[in-house]
Symmetry: C2
Subunit: 471 residues, 2 copies
Amino acid sequence: MGEHYEQYLRNNRSRHLEELKQYLSIPSISALSGHKQNMVQAAEWTAEALRRIGIEHVQVMPTGGHPVVYGEWLKAEGKPTALIYGHYDVQPVDPLHLWDTPPFEPVILEDKIYARGASDNKGQIFMHIKALEALLAEDGTLPVNVKLCIEGEEEIGSVHLDEFVEVNKEHLAADVLVISDSVMYAKGKPAICYGLRGLCGMQINVKGPSGDLHSGLYGGAVQNPVHALVQILSSMRNEQGEITIGGFYDQVRYVPEEERERFRSLQFNEEQMSQELQVAELFGERGYSALERTWVRPTLEINGIYGGFQGEGVKTVLPSEAHAKLTCRLVPDQSPNEIIERIQRHIDRHTPPGVSVTTTLFDTGKPFVTPVDHPVIQAAGRAYREAYGVEAVYIRSGGSIPVVATFAAVLNVPVVMMGFGLSDENIHAPNEHFHLENFDKGLLTLCRYWYELAGIRSNDAIRNGDNNCSS
Amino acid sequence: MGEHYEQYLRNNRSRHLEELKQYLSIPSISALSGHKQNMVQAAEWTAEALRRIGIEHVQVMPTGGHPVVYGEWLKAEGKPTALIYGHYDVQPVDPLHLWDTPPFEPVILEDKIYARGASDNKGQIFMHIKALEALLAEDGTLPVNVKLCIEGEEEIGSVHLDEFVEVNKEHLAADVLVISDSVMYAKGKPAICYGLRGLCGMQINVKGPSGDLHSGLYGGAVQNPVHALVQILSSMRNEQGEITIGGFYDQVRYVPEEERERFRSLQFNEEQMSQELQVAELFGERGYSALERTWVRPTLEINGIYGGFQGEGVKTVLPSEAHAKLTCRLVPDQSPNEIIERIQRHIDRHTPPGVSVTTTLFDTGKPFVTPVDHPVIQAAGRAYREAYGVEAVYIRSGGSIPVVATFAAVLNVPVVMMGFGLSDENIHAPNEHFHLENFDKGLLTLCRYWYELAGIRSNDAIRNGDNNCSS
């Protein structure tokens, strides 16, 4: 086994890339209501791609928001069932003027494909579809049973997926959840991710006088909402990068010294990171390395701020209102809802006189971690070794896939995160791209993984290999 | 004297208002380069309006930026010469969606005319033109000599007017400078303004990583430019509303107790102000009344702030850059350039690690104050009493007309600020308007003022009535 799908993938590479370009050209931005029709189009495209390769019972299933694409192939009797999760929605593209090529006109340059969604996540869910295509085309069968659940709301917090998973939990039942939506450790260094941060956030709206005022005639007499906002925001973090929201760190789980030692053994190059990002130095919570600050420590980041005059030149206005968007990345055992409450209490306590503050909440996701030594994770290690010719490393990620915690809890499955992205591929930013080297090797890894998974001694070993999740 | 121009103004009121609507419909926004042609159009309109009423030697004089309109009438032999200053440029109109009627389609509603520039300053400079028209039409002459200097860059800091005044100082020589670009004390309570605040400001640009980053993958490891910006801005003011820039208050001139007592005697209603602005309470530097905080105390106000994601919903980005615009209002004897230097030193000292900061400076203006008991100011008091039937009060203003200090210094003239605006007329904000009651009474006041000025015993009394200015 192995030679057939390798040959098949080589022979069909050009066609696959053309299909991927088609997929990436659909502007499926879930956050913007004007793109609703594109979302349907991307869902239909995904469903059709599944039907074409022989996946059965493919459906575009409605939710309260954007639809979920579901399909299955369940003919590997006695073999484990894997649930593959991914998403066909993408992030907004602004600031558009910073893109070198249009975000929805995919181009391949220097063995990388550039487009919004190339790495996160259309490119990677497309690889899953093509790996299954290769096996089905060459073998006429699959070594394991598979179910696919591809949603359209990941970039807006998987608004309706919790409910979808709950309602369809019998339908989605599986032995393992496989997700390719994380990054490799570095170029040429594959990684299996066993932990993700959680997420919560809000928009803060500060309202002052009923209209914009002349800053000369009123300046000094009236609270300026932008001053109030920067005062509130500034009070949330000290100069050492520590979050000063009362109780913010109370529920943070102790990170064992052996795990920190494993992080150190990765010899992460902070100097190189700061060079790549073109900053004079990295910055963050004191007492922790950059890896630790992104993997096992929580954060509070302002994602956007706006108020008053933003045009060319100067306008001497005392603005009527000011706004900021902020999100926290959470680690076990922080509770998103509890952190939101703490932030709101902090805002109440730090709102200066003369303005009023309202907040609107964003969707939340729990933090998540899986034991490193679980058989489904070790099987992934073997698949990577085969395809890449090197040992994979076991990492955590600072990102969040809120639905992972839901899947793990509702379906009671272990989770394997086999991502093929690289951290400098500008996901969520202008000029997102994906390295075709990892498109090719990733396809081989995925094909191989299904054989490795089929080889695990029994389904029981998968399901009860360990206490399989912790969210 | 008196009856003739009153009758004339009544008879021609409808035509005057139609002309004013024409004038206000020209979108002469000096700050926006796209409006260059409208600026020329507004200058030509002004010049033609002067020619039509009999003003002589009318010229549209080029500068390095928008042109100055000049005209004169110098046939009142042996009488004082007044220089009338105003501006035909207006502020930008955004946020446009907050206007109830389009800013450049003037409408009269409930005896108020709504349009950008209705109060600041087209409406008021137009009144000067129409007052001269009434006198010339009825008497065939004027009681004093007049020169008019109407510029197009007041709202962007009178960029080229300092040089213009310096170059043309013989041409502009006069006995008194008259400006109608300030506000009355209240509806029905005319005021003569004897002091203005100065102005300086800058845009602060904070640059972090070379591009926007994923706030999950990088959050915690890298300085967030928005956090850095709010930290810098927050450090500039304490919770009591005091500016904490080192040395900010060092040059502030002592305000005598008798002047503060005069302010108190105005019985300014702070409660009413906060109700009008729809804020729970006023806010500002402790130990001073709202009037004092706007008239005789300096301020630092953030006029605008922006960075990161501002769209609908959430985008979990760690922004690459963040920006703020701030301006200070200054009082005697603060120096705009010195304050700018102090702010820059403060920024240098408060810039956190991991970002770089640049600043771009806005134009400056010196603060200014004229003695209350100067004959040209007392003459204005008599004119107001005649036209409004009440005593005018003597006030200072928190606003800035930077060129006033220049005029006073270069031409060595006393300054009379006879404004007809009201402080709730939304100048610099959506729904700017002007009360027609003050259009009518203001025209009478201006006509009367020229007779009062003509009656002062000698030109020497005007020029040497007192040490005439202090900037």
